[in-house]
């Protein structure tokens, strides 16, 4: 059963369409990455899912039913802002937000403990967020959102501005939550994070889902027959190996050189047949783009400063 299904969700602000019929399905126990440049409509879409925006067109189904108060109680939303009370201790924060979901007594205390342990803050439960580092605040933000044991957890850029250790801890926590049965929707601008934890991604741009599916399928889809990566002998360049008219573009990384040819080569053998200096070529293979490459290919490299 899908935990989330949206069909043709449309949303406009003052006549400007910000979502053009977004359709997405998230199955149980999936970790779904939602990617997009600033102003693409991600936050609007997430706010529609969690009912913070109600004036939209289209269809949103949660846990196989129309969105309702009960279904919303099964969602844990981790907002990008630190939605915590500075005057309360970590434990009081989690307890407070847990009580909003009608948790009380021993059950509430148990859930508080589990949530704080999940994010590694149990030892610091008596301290107030004002004394916390940025990473600890982010983790507390997550604990406050998962205390009611939701079936769907939506994280809106939960790792912004924190150190690698906290980021790693958060990613591990998300995996653990997923292993315990929760479906996850994860937005981030850090592509390596998304690649590390997500099974599926949807790339949204200008209010449309422009790519959607498993990461491996997307990578395969965006693998090009004219793009190869090769390792060269020291001191050699691509121009020494391939005829000049074949080379369209070159990108050099630490150890590899990625070459865009002027025409497609379905097989490596076809490329090898054109190599002029085989001794200078250590290895060659089809270039497999990473998620960031694909993201930039789809959404473009132009700055989105004007978007919000």
């Amino acid at each position: 059963m899908s935990v989330l299904k949206t069909v043709d969700v449309l949303k406009s602000y003052q006549g400007n369409m910000v979502l053009h019929g977004v359709s997405l399905t998230v199955e149980e126990k999936e970790i779904y990455g939602l990617l997009g440049p600033n102003g693409a409509g991600k936050s609007t879409f997430l706010n529609i899912i969690v009912n913070l925006i109600t004036d939209y067109a289209g269809f949103v189904e949660l846990f196989g039913r129309d969105a309702s108060k009960e279904s919303l109680n099964n969602i844990g939303f981790v907002p990008q802002d630190l939605a915590i009370y500075e005057d309360l201790s970590a434990q009081q924060n989690v307890r407070f937000f847990g009580s909003l979901y009608k948790l009380k007594g021993d059950e509430l205390e148990k859930r508080c403990e589990e949530a704080l342990k999940m994010v590694g803050l149990w030892e610091h439960r008596k301290r107030k967020p004002a004394e916390f580092s940025g990473g600890m605040k982010r983790r507390l933000n997550i604990a406050c959102s998962i205390v009611h044991n939701p079936r769907l957890i939506i994280l809106d850029e939960p790792t912004v501005g924190i150190d690698p250790q906290s980021r790693n801890y958060i990613l591990e926590s998300i995996k653990t939550l997923n292993n315990q049965g929760a479906a996850i929707i994860y937005t981030s601008h850090y592509m390596e994070e998304v690649e590390a934890i997500c099974s599926k991604v949807a790339i949204i741009d200008a209010g449309r889902i422009v790519e959607n599916g498993t990461i491996s399928r997307i990578k395969e889809k965006h693998q090009k027959n004219n793009c190869y990566e090769c390792v060269l002998e020291r001191g050699k360049s691509v121009h020494d190996i391939f005829p000049e008219e074949l080379i369209a573009d070159i990108a050099v990384t630490d150890s590899k050189t990625v070459v865009n040819f002027t025409r497609d080569f379905a097989l490596i053998e076809d490329v090898m047949a054109l190599v002029t200096d085989k001794k200078a070529l250590v290895s060659i293979g089809k270039h497999r783009p990473n998620l960031e490459d694909i993201f930039l290919t789809i959404t473009g490299k132009a700055l989105r400063d004007g978007d919000s």
């Binding site: 706010n47 969690v50 009912n51 913070l52 925006i53 109600t54 004036d55 108060k69 009960e70 919303l72 109680n73 969602i75 939303f77 907002p79 802002d81 630190l82 939605a83 915590i84 009370y85 005057d87 309360l88 009081q92 407070f96 937000f97 009580s99 909003l100 979901y101 009608k102 406050c144 959102s145």
Partner: protein, 383 residues
């Protein structure tokens, strides 16, 4: 809703700002307002002459009860007679003890008569307000000795001095009660209400800025229930604060707020009033996007309001002194104010009920407007 109110209240009493206000506000009000008002209203002469007297009746030594019974039985006739006899605009209803030359408090069988500072020494009559009743007795110098007739009808009509066989003056004592207390108490209540308004707007502003408000809505709470619970919780916080202020002033500043009934009256009136004010603040929040600017606006608006009210009050007394009280009496604003003040000072007065009902009705109306506005704004208001 009750659960949400409880949660919201538990949060508001944990907020450092609220606790600080609770401790700082009484100190500020006592030190600054007390001194300022005492200076303006000559509170340095705050010794009111008071006579504790014991009424006895010929056939019954428990004459205090007899007096009360008499008033209850004949109050309609008394009203009529008093209206006829009284040449002041205040008549029976609408008179506050602060405006009378003197007033009477009956408790535990002892009737204490207080003479107000502004009582003219040349007046022949001592006006006494007892609950809904006002009576006049002759005054000889200050209140050194007087006689009163337990048959009030006769007593009032005759204003005679041959009534000594019914009343025995037992003792005379001086009770310290600053003249400025009236203004002082009103200023406290007004400030408390305004503070509640500011606290609510600040609280909503902070909740929205932090994003914690979103969490309520994510948990399925409506915007209206959130705003309502905030309003109630802040009203309750302010109630506890006001109780603290009154206790503080009673025991530290020796301010006399009256008996238990007066306490309850002040608290009830203030709570209803504050609730209406905080609900109104919610509406302002829903209408205006920039809450920080709204807080500034409320504070700025408060200054001319205080100046206006202060000026109006001074003007009121000037008109009274100039014998032009009739002009004021016909003003609806005057009646509204009198209702408020009487509700505070005359806890047995009908104005308590009337005034509270009026404010409660206003509060209910504001709640309804709030509900409609919340629906109109929707959850997207928190963005």
């Amino acid at each position: 809703m009750l659960r949400l109110i409880r949660i919201s209240f538990s949060l508001s009493i944990r907020e450092v700002r609220n606790i600080a206000f609770m401790l700082i506000l009484p100190l500020l009000l006592t030190l600054i307002l007390g001194i300022a008002l005492a200076t303006v209203f000559d509170s340095e002469n705050d010794n009111a002459m008071a006579a504790s007297v014991w009424f006895y009746y010929i056939e019954d030594s428990d004459s205090g009860d007899r007096l009360r019974d008499f008033l209850e039985e004949y109050h309609h006739r008394l009203n009529m007679v008093m209206t006829h006899e009284a040449d002041r605009d205040t008549a029976i209803d609408g008179v506050s003890r602060r405006d009378a030359d003197a007033y009477l408090i009956y408790a535990d069988g002892v009737i204490t008569i207080y003479q107000n500072e502004h009582a003219s020494q040349s007046t022949r009559w001592l006006e006494i307000v007892f609950g809904n009743y006002m009576m006049r007795v002759g005054i000889i110098d200050e209140i050194v000795e007087y006689s009163a007739n337990i048959d009030l009808l006769l007593f009032i009509r005759d204003m005679g001095m041959d009534l000594g066989s019914y009343v025995e003056l037992l003792q005379i004592e001086t009770i310290r009660q600053p003249d400025a207390i009236g203004y002082y108490a009103i200023a406290m209540i007004t400030l408390t209400s305004v503070y509640s308004m500011v606290v609510l707007i600040l609280s909503l502003s902070a909740e929205r800025r932090r994003g914690t408000m979103k969490r309520y809505l994510l948990a399925g709470k409506t915007l209206f229930s959130f705003l309502f619970s905030k309003s109630v919780s802040i009203t309750l916080t302010l109630l506890s604060k006001l109780t603290f202020i009154m206790l503080f002033n009673t025991f530290v500043y020796r301010v006399e707020f009256g008996g238990f009934g007066t306490w309850v009256t002040v608290l009830v009136v203030t709570v209803v009033f504050t609730f209406a004010v905080t609900q109104f603040a919610s509406i302002l929040c829903l209408v205006f996007k920039n809450l920080t600017a709204l807080v500034v606006a409320v504070n700025v608006a408060f200054i001319p309001t205080v100046l206006f009210l202060g000026g109006a009050y001074l003007g009121y007394h000037m008109l009274i002194d100039m014998g032009m009280g009739d002009i004021i009496v016909f003003s609806p604003v005057y009646h509204l104010n009198r209702g408020f003040f009487d509700a505070i000072y005359l806890n047995s007065h009908d104005y308590i009920r009337q005034f509270t009902l009026i404010v409660a009705a206003a509060a209910a109306f504001i709640v309804a407007v709030n509900f409609i506005l919340s629906k109109w704004r929707g959850n997207s208001w928190v963005q």
